[in-house]
């Protein structure tokens, strides 16, 4: 059974159709790339899968759960986490505190546990420290532990966003342009990171414009244009697909030159 | 009888519309909810009152002076109170306007006390008859002036350079800035216009009803209901909403006890907030 299955998903805003009859699936531990020109509906798709937007029609299945129409926090609890196109986290909190927020849905100490500071509360706090350390290690953030999120370098802030998502212990991670604004060195570190995340058993759906990243990490890619899937296949297949090339020809976000030099 | 009530309601509604329009343009163009709007309305009433009563100024001139003086006050308020908050979250404007409300209302209380005042206009009680409907001369004047103001506003916003700049800013703030429209000028002007409208409304209502420092709060709430109902930012919505509220208030007074009338008004406010925060014609 596929980890995520999207069936005939459609989303329209008034007269504008953002996503049109879209179907695809992601397998366990698979890395699926999602590319397309700006405005193709990629982020909208993320919003639909994570419950931020309700679809106009169609269904989304995560494992055996039908998640269409569920609120975002429930979907996160089921195991889907995401990052956002622009940096998004709690700027005035420390890295550590940011990561602990991600731990929320995996802990359960409630009001009475808070007031009485029960052993459950204290144990969970300890576990949070451990898990947060693990994530920081994975992402290279240990040295920034007590720094405020707004004060660390931008590339590290991107790592932080991924880290908070990882702290929710997802089985599917949605990354929205994680390489944006990164230089080549930072980008290759990101690629390593993504592969390490996959090795932990987490499937990834990644939106990217940097084709080096896409070609490097993705096993499969599908292409969105004007809300429709125009192609799906392996990186090589996509590279040679004439329709894809035509869609991107002349578009600055698709860097053909760097693919050829790959 | 019904026609009489509807006429009274229409007159009241026109005045309400005037207050509501001022509130809605600040929201539409600047994204600010100015709760001190009712206090400017009150000050306009007092300005007109003192001019008419102490200096025996003609009411219509007093009205113009009230509007202009409130317009100037609006510019001062925008510069001192709201502009320093530029760039901060929306809620800060709201809170600061609450502070302004408290400041102005209590300042007025200290200066003028709680005694009710009224403008004893010489021709106020002259009666004009339209068939079965009776209207006092002053009511006729106020509705006539309100309609004139609204029409004037419409032409101004549609056809004048500033009016077009304001509309551009409302639709796309950043786009307007790149075209060279100065946000600060627009802010100043919008506040000036909104306050002038409030001042005029205050003078007009003050000529019909009692004037006292707390008179601004209830119209503020009503204006807010109208604006939310008619659509935040929509002038047409403010007019339609004002008329509806005016008429339902007059008709309601006949059939519902006055205390619970207020309760129903608040319940309607809550329902509108919950189900139609964009109102009938709203843009956001």
């Amino acid at each position: 059974m596929a980890l995520l299955e999207v069936k005939n998903l459609t989303k329209s805003f008034g007269g504008l159709v953002a996503i049109s009859d879209l179907s695809f699936r992601i397998g366990q531990e698979e890395i699926l790339g999602l590319i397309g020109p700006n405005g193709a509906g990629k982020t909208t798709l993320f919003n639909l899968v994570t419950g931020v937007l309700p679809p106009s029609s169609g269904a989304i299945f995560f494992g055996e759960h039908r998640i269409t129409g569920k609120p975002p926090y429930e979907i996160t609890k089921l195991g889907i986490a995401r990052t956002f196109q622009s940096l998004r986290h709690f700027s005035n909190a420390t890295i550590f505190d940011n990561l602990v927020v991600g731990r929320h849905c995996r802990t359960r100490a409630g009001l009475w546990h808070a007031i009485l500071r029960t052993s459950l509360a204290r144990n969970e706090e300890k576990k949070n420290k451990e898990k947060a350390s693990e994530v920081m290690d994975l992402l290279g953030l240990e040295s920034y532990q007590t720094d405020l999120a707004k004060n660390i370098p931008q590339a590290m802030q991107r790592h932080l966003d991924i880290g908070i998502a990882l702290a929710t212990e997802p089985s599917l991670l949605l990354l929205d342009e994680p390489a944006a604004g990164m230089n080549p060195e930072e980008t290759s570190r990101l690629v390593e990171l993504i592969k390490r995340i996959q090795s932990k058993g987490i499937a990834i759906l990644i939106i990217e414009h940097d084709m080096n990243v896409i070609m490097d990490v993705c096993e499969r890619i599908f292409v969105l244009n004007y809300g429709e899937k125009i192609s799906e296949g392996s990186p090589e297949e996509i590279q040679e697909n004439p329709e894809v090339i035509e869609t991107y020809l002349g578009k600055e976000d698709f860097d053909l030159v760097s693919i050829e030099s790959n | 009888m019904l026609l009489q009530q509807l006429t009274n309601g229409f007159i009241l509604g026109c005045n309400y519309a005037l207050i509501a329009i001022g509130l809605t343009i600040i929201f539409g163009i600047l994204n600010i909810i100015n709760l001190a709007h009712g206090e400017i309305y009150m000050l306009g009433a007092f300005v007109a009152f003192f001019l008419v009563t102490l200096w025996e100024v003609n009411f219509f001139i007093a009205l113009v002076i009230a509007a202009i003086s409130m317009g100037i006050l609006g510019i001062i308020i925008e510069r001192l109170v709201f502009r320093p908050l530029q760039g901060k979250e929306e809620i800060n404007y709201f809170i600061v306007s609450v502070g302004l409300l408290i400041f102005i209302e209590n300042g007025a209380l200290l200066l003028w006390g709680t005694e009710p005042r009224s403008m004893a206009l010489p021709y106020a009680s002259q009666i004009v008859r339209f068939g079965e409907v009776i209207v006092t001369a002053q009511r006729l004047y106020t509705v006539g002036i309100a309609i004139l103001i609204i029409l004037g506003l419409h032409f101004f916003i549609q056809y004048s350079k500033m009016g077009r700049a304001m509309r551009a800013t409302e639709q796309d703030r950043e786009g307007a800035m790149t075209v060279g429209i100065g946000i600060n000028e627009i802010s100043s002007f919008t506040f000036a216009l909104s306050s002038a409208l409030a001042g005029a409304a205050g003078a007009l209502m003050g000529s019909l009803f009692i004037i006292q420092p707390m008179m601004g709060f209830s119209p503020l709430i009503k204006a807010f209901v109208i604006v939310v109902l008619g659509g935040l930012g929509s002038i047409l919505g403010a007019i339609v909403g004002g008329l509806i509220l005016g008429m339902t208030e007059v008709l309601g007074a006949v059939y519902i006890s006055s205390a619970y009338q207020e309760v129903y008004a608040f319940i309607i406010l809550i329902l509108v907030l919950l189900f139609k925060p964009r109102g009938l014609f709203g843009k956001r």
Binding site: R88, H89, E125 | E90, F266
Partner: protein
Amino acid sequence: MGFKRFIAYLGALALLVALPFLIEGYPLHLVNISGIWIILALSLGLIQGYIGEISMGHAAFFGIGAYSSVLLTMNTGVSFWLALPAAGLVTMILGYAIGLVSLRLRGPYFAICTLAFGEIIRLIFINWRELTQGPDGITGIPSPSPIPLPFGETLSFSSKEAGYFLIYALVCLTIFVIYRIVNSRMGKAIMAIREDQDYAECMGINTMKYKRMVFSISTFFAGLAGCIFAHYMHFISPYSFTIGQSFDLVIMVIVGGMGTIIGPIIGAVILTLIPELLHAIKDYRLLIYGLMLMLIIIYFPHGIAGILKDLKDRCFRDGKKLGVNHGPAGS
């Protein structure tokens, strides 16, 4: 906890306990009234500082607590000591209901909705005479019933000193509960909601549930405060639970400093004591409040607590410069 801190807390506690023996009469009464406002401000501080929403109808919950406790003790003969938690619970239930409706809204819309509810409740207090005796208010509210002690003694609660201990015991309880909540998993969730509600929701936090919870806890404490107020003042009327008081509370929390525990306390103390201490400005009280609110929002958004914190930071920094404390070189 460090030794110095422990001594400081012990000292504060000692002062707290000794205070009613050091002052009496009207000043003691003022301290008591401040205490009630501290509880109210802290409860509103939960909503404003931690959920991050402005609530403009909070005095209504104060009133619900007061009236429900009075009705319980005077009409049905329930002991004060049962009426106290009951009043809190009644207020909390009504608070939960109002929260269900209002918390769907955000920012100014939420604020106006709470204002509307506050007004509706005030109008009910004024007009439902059978329940509340309307604008005349209710007089002759009894003090908390005496507690029997061993050896045939009783602990009576009719004096101001007794009132002091009761009120400040509640103040300590409120501070304790809020402190524990804020520093817990729940507290982190709430602050995440305050900073970026939609993002918090995406990171697995059930934002509506927590907003309702915090709102309910806040109204619970407001209800407790109302109950104590009624049985301390022996008289209540709808005029104590109006928009005026709601605005006072909003100002206390903002001027004192939102998002802290000490902020609302500072705000409550300043805004209840200062007008009393400076008789000359008593009439100008509200005028000054309005001005303070504007100044704080524009120039000191973190309130007085923020100003004090900045001063403290600067003092320590200067201390380092003077060579008093050598911190780690560089950073």
